[in-house]
């Protein structure tokens, strides 16, 4: 209802007889109002947080109250990707591919400590320390796992963010092709093709010491 109230206050004087019948607003505002209230999340769970996401969708918390009940397994139909759980290196290429397959406008909500920054598993050898190292994140929801209330708060925050967007600044009406995030490759360890040069220089350093040890020493000095 709050959003509706906004529509009645466009910043122009509306004659008394037309109040509650005619609404004057900007195209931008009605456009964002409509978009923000029909966010379709992608049905995509990774770990424990996915269970809390399901609980948020279920009857007690019910995020369909905010226009989000249509969970789509296909990235083509989804607007917001809720990265719900630990992102592992093995799963990373798929997540980046899913992100690339989503059509604009697209948003990413990192749910839980793991998706935000690695969480309790950060030190693990197969864990990506936060999905934002590869794809842009709009809203972070912390917690391990966040409660359904926490997730709802995150989704409402995302709605607020969408309402502040300006049409001329958004990318999806531009003629330029959408730049995709290069898909990470599973080698001896996962690697980002964008960092190939750095990796090459680091692994071909002439020292006898292994790369890791040498930098550790450098830090302590």
């Amino acid at each position: 209802m709050e959003a509706n109230q906004d529509l009645y206050k466009p910043g122009y004087e509306i004659p008394e007889e037309l109040r509650q019948q005619v609404t004057i607003t900007t195209l931008e505002r009605i456009y964002n109002w409509g978009r923000s209230n029909s966010m379709w999340p992608m049905m995509f769970g990774l770990a424990c947080c996915a269970i809390e996401m399901i609980c948020t969708a279920a009857s007690r918390y019910d995020f369909s109250r905010f226009g989000m009940e249509v969970m789509r397994p296909s990235p083509r139909q989804a607007d917001v990707m809720i990265v719900a759980g630990t992102v592992t290196k093995k799963m990373l290429p798929q997540i980046v591919r899913l992100y690339n397959q989503m059509s604009l406008p697209k948003y990413v909500l990192a749910m839980g400590a793991c998706a935000c920054g690695g969480g309790p598993f950060k030190e693990g050898y197969n864990v990506v320390p936060g999905i934002d190292t590869y794809i842009p994140v709009d809203v972070y929801v912390t917690g391990c796992p966040p409660t359904p209330q926490g997730l709802l708060n995150g989704l409402l925050t995302l709605q607020k963010k969408i309402k502040m967007e300006q049409m001329k600044e958004t990318g999806w009406y531009s003629k330029e092709p959408v730049v995709e995030v290069p898909i990470p490759i599973l080698g001896p360890d996962v690697y980002d093709p964008r960092k190939s040069d750095l990796i090459y220089t680091e692994t071909h350093k002439p020292e006898v010491l292994s790369t890791e040890e040498s930098t550790m020493e450098g830090e302590s000095k």
Partner: protein, 581 residues
Amino acid sequence: MTDQPGLDPTYSDLLNEFPQAVELEARPGFTGVVVLTSALIDVMTYLRDRKGYDYLSSVTAVDDFPEDKLEIVYLLFKTTGGGIIELKVFTQRDEPVVPSITPLYQGAEFQEREVWDLYGVKFTGHPDLRRLLLWEGFSGHPLRKDWKEPFYEEEVKPFKTRWPEGKGVRSENLNPFKDNVQYPRDFDPNTYEPDADRSVYKLLESQIPAETGDFKVDHLVVNIGPQHPSTHGVFRMAALLEGEKVLALKPVIGYLHRNHEKIGERNTFVQNMPFTDRMDYLSSMSNNFGYAITVEKLLGVKPPERAEYLRVMMAELTRIASHTMAIGFLLNDLGAFFTPSLYALEERELILDIFESVAGSRMMCNYFRFGGVVRDIPEETLKSVKKLVEDRLPRKVDDLDRYLTDNEIVRVRCEGIGVLTAEEAIAYSASGPILRASGVPYDIRKVDPYSIYDRLEFDVCYRQHGDVYDRYLVRLDEIRQSLRILKQVINQIPEGPIMTGKVQYMVKVPAGEAYGRVEGPRGELGFYVVSDGKPNPKRYHVRAPSMINTTSLEKMCVGGKIADAVTILGAVDVVLGEVDR
């Protein structure tokens, strides 16, 4: 534990039968026998065929670095009940080769692949020795003690930078790539050819039957998952199809491999408790239970009565929550999208409220401690448990029963699908509802009672057909039995302390090994812990029922339709956090 009067007589039979190849484990605190690598298959065959040890519970490895020694540990049980038989095989670290026991016990297939993946032990005679949790091409075998992860800080916790000074540095800043990665020297990303799952596809394509006659048949490889609404998480099945028929199906797992065991070996004993929550995240209390009783075996402590009752109460509530959810999601997979799940989730929420009030968290309870539980149950909560158990849940279970059991679609889609006979289920080391639906009344609460289960009245639920429908029925029956247990627990719970001894941060665990197991909602949840007297476990292994149950997935799916593969997976009820750990 040599020459103990309580030693299993099977051990002495083994010593008599194989005097050259078998000797008793000599280290104090350790049990079992050490078998020569060359005699392993003979010993195993003898135990299986002559002694009735038909159930291979677990295969794992222990790294004895800096000694040049890797131990492979085999844990065997009888499905008719009785104690554990523990075999160990020693092999050297640089070129470890051990004969595979997969031809004898099919349930070893994934577990041996896991040992190959994480320890680099080659199993000769294994039908498909690929990496299980990581990918082909990964450098190194991470559970070896001398393998270091990119964010390696120190051998064991608590790390000096964090405690007591608390001057932690972001691990990213110490890494040259500013990320959780490391590469071998001379790795060139520009010329590297990734495996990109070629090994899986090659394996599947090798199973295309030769063409017969004039009729040409096309075969198709289909990947279901890792992003698929009915794989219950990040699970992937690569299937070879002929039309709709499944010719071969390979589960591909590891998409949620969170290095539970590596982190577990860096942690102190107590620090592992919250990590067990996150393993099978639908039943965290059960996981706590398994880990707590394992370490209590090593410590030799016994929790007070009230704590035992609270533990059983929480474990059974977990079972109800997990089974209702499993039923709801099975119906999801059958096409009744989300409506039955909503019924299941409604009840689960009420149980989660109880967990929240005793443990402070809905899902990740972290409630058990060695020698008790962390908090007492509030009087109000006990009342709401009573109300839930005596009034609401029995009605709701009957509702589920009434809506679903005789539903025509449920019956047509479930009866006769994914059949596993009793012999197969045992050979594949299936456990929990899968095993019991195949006609094997094997419930650890009965055959090897822990905590106070020997004092409680309940029946072991089992069915005869071994299909998806029977698995569903077994779960329904188990909910009713859990309610029966809970009623007794609520009426009998005594007053008293909830902890033995005082709460310790650094528990002193004597050197030795212990295998503790509980009947989790998904089956035998076992923890194999080796301590060397330090504050951190030397080896921390989880026998994950979900993972071992997926070993038989191919067997159940081949020959059926691809749509049924989804149903079968739903009835196995995997939780990916536990499959991959």
